[in-house]
């Protein structure tokens, strides 16, 4: 059996996540993928912003960089473009990446720098106590939407595809095995890769939205996550409120650091 401790900073446990939080499931899926790909810990960097998901790097025994709110992709762009040989994984959340960090998100996708982004989408600002985020469903309740959220949510994966990402997948923590394969593919892909992971926040989201227990939230994921194959067979009415999971986009585009290296080889004068 795979020994998670190989990649874990055990001294930092217990972790800060609430019981029923899905973040640990994502972390374990990531570690299994890293093991599968035999990733070199010394040559791997994890960059995060601010929020519950962004606390992930503290528990992973690689080079880790916990930055400012929304800016993980900006810092990661500096790391990767300065040292393209490093594997750079970005961990972020729905608020971190698509509200305060929205500009960096679309531009990182557009540039197509070889970064692997794990975006934990829990529909809420969990760490600050349950304020609505850009992915909070319309009508859902949040501490700053006590009468129901009036705003329509972002489709994060759709946003990344539109902005030019090479690889976009959506998974969820109920289907953890499938999540493994999506993360593994994303790590292998050259270019900007996103895995949007739908994950429960029973504490800040569930309790306000009639899913007060972790089990209820998991059941919700089970009942609303739909494979791409099944999605194709469903009518618009059947699709309502559900989300599809799988690889949503996988295209070949020139990768930024490789393009830059070609330019340097062409114009370099100091050799």
């Amino acid at each position: 059996m795979f020994d998670y401790l190989k990649y874990i900073r055990e001294e930092n446990f217990p972790h800060i996540w609430c019981s029923g939080c899905g973040d640990g499931i994502v972390l374990k899926a990531l570690l299994r993928s890293m093991e599968k790909l035999n990733m070199d810990r010394d040559q791997s960097v994890m960059v995060s912003g601010i929020g519950c998901s962004s606390r992930t790097p503290g528990y992973v025994d690689i080079n880790t960089l916990h930055t400012t709110h929304g800016r993980a992709l900006a810092f990661a762009t500096g790391v990767k473009t300065a040292r393209p040989e490093l594997n750079v994984i970005v961990v972020t959340g729905d608020g971190d990446a698509t509200a305060i960090g929205g500009n960096h998100f679309i531009h990182a996708a557009r540039r197509n720098i070889d970064l692997t982004v794990l975006l934990y989408n829990n529909y809420i600002y969990g760490m600050t106590g349950g304020q609505c985020s850009p992915t909070t469903p319309k009508g859902a309740r949040a501490s700053t939407a006590q009468f129901g959220n009036l705003e329509p949510p972002f489709n994060i994966s759709g946003l990344a595809i539109a902005a030019g990402a090479s690889f976009v997948a959506r998974g969820d923590v109920y289907n953890a095995k499938k999540l493994d394969s999506l993360i593994t593919k994303a790590l292998q892909k050259k270019g900007f890769s996103l895995v949007e992971v739908v994950t429960p926040c029973p504490t800040a989201f569930g309790r306000r939205n009639r899913m007060a227990t972790p089990v209820k939230m998991m059941e919700h994921l089970r009942d609303h996550s739909v494979s791409l194959e099944k999605w194709e067979t469903m009518s618009p009415e059947e699709r309502a409120g559900k989300f599809r999971t799988g690889v949503l986009c996988d295209v070949e585009r020139p990768e930024n650091t490789e393009e830059y290296a070609k330019l340097v080889a062409e114009i370099r004068t100091d050799r």
Binding site: G58, L65, H66, T67, A74, F75, V79, L86, Y260, V264
Partner: protein
Amino acid sequence: MTEVRTGAVRMMQGNQACAEGAVAAGCRFFSGYPITPSSEIAEYLSIMLPRIGGRFIQMEDEIAAMGATIGASLTGVKSMTATSGPGFSLKQENIGYASMAEVPCVVVNVMRGGPSTGMPTLPAQMDVQQARWGSHGDRGVIVLTAKSAQETYSQTIRAFNLAERYMTPVILLLDEITGHTTEKVVIPDPATIEIVDRAKPTESPAEYMPYRLTEDCIPKLAPFGTGYRYNVTGLCHNETGFPTNDSHDIDCLVRRLTKKIEMYEDEIIRWSEIMLDDAEIGIFAYGSVARSANAAVRLCREAGCRAGLLEPTVLWPFPAKAVLEMARRVKAIVVPELNLGQMAREVELASRCSIPVHRLGRVDGNPITPQQIVDLVREVL
């Protein structure tokens, strides 16, 4: 653009001299965002860096440009960004991050007039207090300035050296006049340029603590990818680099961030003096205004009036001892600056209000002329 040869005497803009100085200092990463009057720094480096295997990247905004500079520096690459007033405001959160995480980097601010969008193409010195206090939280800062293209070249090199030595962001405050004036620069022989590289850890990865408390108060951060796997955060952290709520650890960290600059003030602070020995009136001037002040001293002396000049090239830490020394010798101090007294306040504090400090602030987008300074000196006498 033609290549700049060592030993050559070249005509160049201050902003180009900044780019040349950066490369001479070992800068191999620049991330920026277009903003007048600093954009030429990015434009020159977009040509120079790929030619020597360095990386240039134009980011989507000022915040991202600061973040990328910090990220690149953590891999051990000397990194810089450049901006002007409004962009400097946007960068402040991440400048504070660089102070907190102790990541060396250089931030150039070619000052324009403010507040807000202000005067994009006109000079000012309105960011001297923002450079000190612009980011939230207590921390020591190093801020340099320059009055000419030649000085911009050498001060950019010094900014990198101080950043690497003290593991901190260093701010270089230029102004629109310095940035855009084209004048003579002598490019020194690289062998004569002092270059400082950040200290590397000497212990094994197993024993390594990135923020180990040492007497010199300076951490040794291993570049990412060199086998030392550690954590960097903007949260209060302990010696290991991991977040902490321990009040003793927090107290040690926050005090050290100020102390690590304060304890080296004598090494960091630099200024020059012109005819101060027998002066009755002392002038305190920095950046492009120091050029007018130089001329004003000469004009005063020609008219038989004993004026002298104290010209700091480091604004923060503030050269308080030099100002106090001047205050003991002269009858009054005149502070011409392109703001409404931001540094005059510091001069008053440093002179302990022992003598009058006269402000000469200009905020209409024009330079302070030598005659304006001469007139005030005469009025004061």
